[in-house]
C-alpha cells in the first residue's frame, strides 16, 4: 500500500503496523464486515416481509391459511435455533438439486439416496461444477440469507401478530362506522398504527439478528469469524512478509468491539425511531410526549 512497505522486516512497530493493516488479506477481512452488513441489509427487510405475511396468514378468516400461518410461527420458534440453521442450509440445497434433477434428467434411473450419498446428475448440481468461484460464494450466501429470513421471519411474524391485536378495537370499529371495508381498515387504520406496538419487539429482534450474524461462519460463508481465525493464526517468515505470533485473541477482540459498538448505535437509533413513532399515538408515551410539548 505505502511506498515504505517494500521490506517490512526493517520497519519499526508503527510503520510495520500501518503496512500490515493494509495488506490485501487484511482488506479481505475488512470487506467481510461488508458481508455482515449486507446480510443484515437484505435479511432484515426480507424477514420483515416473511413476518408480515406470516402474521396476515395467522389472523386470516380461512382456517387452513390461519393454521399454516400459526404453524409457521410455532414450529420455527419451538426448535433449537442453531440446529435450524445447520439443518436448513443442507435441506434447501438438496431440495433445489432434487427439483432440478427431476426437471433436467427425467430418464435418470438410479436412486438419489445411495446409502450415505446424495447423488444427482451433473446438470442438476447447484451451482454447476464448472461455475466460477464467485457463483459458489453467492449461492452459499443466498442460502444463508434464505435461512436467516425464514427463522427471523417467524420471530417477526409473532411480534407483528401480537402488534396487530394490540391496536385498540375502537379504532377499527370507528373505521367500520365510517364505512371502510375490511381491506381499507387493514391498510389505512391497522397497519399504520400497529408499528408503535411492534417496535419494541422488532427492535429486540434486530438486536438478536445482529448477534446471530457470526453464525454465518457455521453456514460456510467466509465472514468475519472465518477471516479472524485465518489471519490471526501464527504466521512464520517463510510464508509471509509479516510474521507474527498467535493474534487470534486480538482479532476476536476487534470483533467483540465491533459488535458492542453496533449494538450501542442501534440502541440509540431505536430510541429515536420510537420517539418519532410515538408522536400522536393513543398510548401513555404518546400522551406524555404531547404534554411535554404543550
Amino acid at each position: 500500500m505505502f511506498e515504505f512497505c517494500t521490506d517490512p522486516s526493517t520497519l519499526d512497530t508503527l510503520p510495520w503496523m500501518a503496512c500490515y493493516l493494509t495488506t490485501g488479506k487484511q482488506f479481505g477481512f475488512y470487506s467481510a464486515f461488508g458481508t455482515v452488513l449486507l446480510l443484515l441489509a437484505i435479511t432484515a427487510p426480507v424477514s420483515l416481509a416473511f413476518g408480515f405475511m406470516g402474521a396476515m396468514a395467522a389472523r386470516a378468516r380461512n382456517v387452513i391459511i390461519s393454521v399454516i400461518g400459526k404453524g409457521y410461527i410455532a414450529i420455527v420458534r419451538g426448535v433449537p435455533d442453531i440446529a435450524f440453521f445447520l439443518f436448513f442450509v443442507i435441506a434447501f440445497d438438496q431440495l433445489f438439486e432434487y427439483i432440478r434433477h427431476k426437471i433436467k434428467c427425467p430418464d435418470w434411473s438410479e436412486p438419489i439416496r445411495q446409502g450415505n450419498d446424495f447423488v444427482v446428475c451433473a446438470e442438476a448440481k447447484l451451482p454447476l461444477g464448472s461455475a466460477p468461484q464467485w457463483v459458489h460464494e453467492t449461492y452459499g450466501f443466498s442460502l444463508a440469507v434464505l435461512t436467516f429470513a425464514i427463522v427471523f421471519g417467524a420471530f417477526a411474524a409473532n411480534v407483528l401478530f401480537g402488534a396487530m391485536r394490540a391496536v385498540p378495537k375502537a379504532q377499527l370499529e370507528t373505521a367500520a362506522a365510517y364505512g371502510m371495508n375490511e381491506r381499507q381498515t387493514f391498510w389505512r387504520i391497522l397497519v399504520p398504527q400497529m408499528w408503535v406496538y411492534a417496535l419494541p419487539g422488532l427492535g429486540n429482534l434486530w438486536m438478536v439478528l445482529i448477534k446471530a450474524t457470526p453464525l454465518l461462519f457455521l453456514l460456510g460463508v467466509e465472514d468475519i469469524v472465518y477471516w479472524a481465525r485465518e489471519l490471526g493464526g501464527t504466521k512464520t517468515a517463510k510464508f509471509t512478509d509479516y510474521p507474527h505470533g498467535d493474534w487470534r485473541m486480538w482479532y476476536f477482540f476487534a470483533l467483540l468491539v465491533f459488535y458492542l459498538a453496533f449494538t450501542w448505535v442501534s440502541e440509540k437509533a431505536l430510541d429515536r425511531i420510537m420517539a418519532h413513532l410515538t408522536k400522536g399515538q393513543a398510548t401513555t408515551a404518546g400522551e406524555a410526549q404531547r404534554r411535554a410539548a404543550a
Partner: protein, 268 residues
C-alpha cells in the same frame, strides 16, 4: 449388533467411557439416538452448572446495578452491556484465544482452554448478565409498600434483603428467568462450534448431530432427533421451574398466582 450393545458402547461416549472410535459406516437410527443423547450430557452439564453459579453472580450483578455507589453501579452496568451486547459465539471465540494466550504466560490457566471449564466460565458470565438484567428489572418493580412495611417492622439491612427484597425480586423475575434458563440450554450447543476443541471427539448433542449429518449427507434424521431431545429437555426445565414458581407464589390467593408465560427461543 443389537441396540443394547450400541447403547452399552456409545451411551457414555461423550464423557470418554465405552467405545473409542465413533461409528464410521452403517449408521442405524439406534446409533444416532444413542450418540446424540450421549452428547446431551454435556449440554446438561453446562446448562445446570452455569445456571447455579450464574444465579448467584446474577443476584450480585443486579444488586450492583441498583447500588448507589457509582463505581459498583458502572461496573455492573458495563458487565451487563458487555455480555448482552455481543454475540455469545464471539465471546466463546475471544475467551478461548484469550485463555490460550494466558496459558502460554501462566501455565495455571491451562484448564481454562478446555471446554469443560473455559466454556463454562463464559456461559456463567453470559447467563449472569442476562439474568442480572432480569433481576434488576424485577428489583425495580418491587412494590414500594413491601419495603415500607419492612421498615415499619424494624427489619433492616441484611435481614430485610433476605426476608423481603430477595424473595419478592425472585417471585417477580421468575417467569422471565425461566425463559432465560431455556435459552441457556439452547446456547450450550454453541460450545463445540466455537474454538473449544472436542477432546477425543467427546462433544455435545449438536456436535454428534452434525457429525452424522456430515457423514450421511442426510440432515433429515439427526437434527429432528436433536430437536426431539431438546423439546424433552425444555419440558423438564419448565416443569422444575414451574415447581419453584409455585413455591415462590404460595402465599398469594389461588387466582392471583402468576402463571409461567413462555416466550421460547431467540438466538443470543
Amino acid at each position: 449388533m443389537s441396540c443394547w450393545d450400541i447403547i452399552a458402547d456409545y451411551g457414555l461416549r461423550s464423557i470418554g467411557i465405552g467405545e473409542r472410535l465413533l461409528p464410521r459406516k452403517d449408521f442405524t437410527l439406534c446409533h444416532q439416538f444413542t450418540l446424540i443423547g450421549s452428547g446431551l450430557l454435556w449440554n446438561i452439564y453446562f446448562g445446570v452448572l452455569a445456571l447455579i453459579v450464574g444465579f448467584m453472580l446474577a443476584t450480585a450483578v443486579a444488586m450492583g446495578k441498583a447500588a448507589r455507589n457509582p463505581v459498583i453501579q458502572k461496573l455492573s452496568t458495563g458487565f451487563i452491556f458487555l455480555f448482552r451486547g455481543s454475540p455469545l459465539f464471539i465471546q466463546f471465540f475471544f475467551a478461548y484465544f484469550l485463555f490460550l494466550s494466558l496459558k502460554q504466560v501462566y501455565p495455571i490457566f491451562s484448564p481454562l482452554t478446555s471446554a469443560w471449564l473455559g466454556a463454562l466460565v463464559v456461559l456463567i458470565c453470559n447467563t449472569a448478565a442476562y439474568s442480572g438484567e432480569i433481576f434488576y428489572g424485577a428489583y425495580q418493580s418491587i412494590p414500594k409498600g413491601d419495603i415500607e412495611a419492612a421498615d415499619a417492622y424494624g427489619i433492616t439491612g441484611w435481614t430485610r434483603f433476605k426476608r423481603i427484597i430477595w424473595p419478592t425480586m425472585l417471585r417477580l423475575a421468575w417467569p422471565a428467568y425461566t425463559n432465560e434458563a431455556i435459552f441457556l440450554f439452547h446456547a450450550t450447543v454453541l460450545v463445540f462450534f466455537s474454538g473449544f476443541p472436542a477432546y477425543q471427539q467427546r462433544g455435545d448433542a449438536l456436535y454428534y448431530a452434525s457429525y452424522f449429518a456430515d457423514k450421511t449427507f442426510n440432515p433429515f434424521v439427526p437434527y429432528p432427533i436433536l430437536a426431539g431431545y431438546y423439546i424433552v429437555l425444555t419440558l423438564i426445565v419448565i416443569m422444575i421451574f414451574g415447581i419453584v414458581n409455585k413455591r415462590l407464589n404460595r402465599h398469594l390467593p389461588q387466582d392471583n398466582r402468576p402463571k409461567l408465560k413462555l416466550r421460547l427461543n431467540l438466538i443470543r
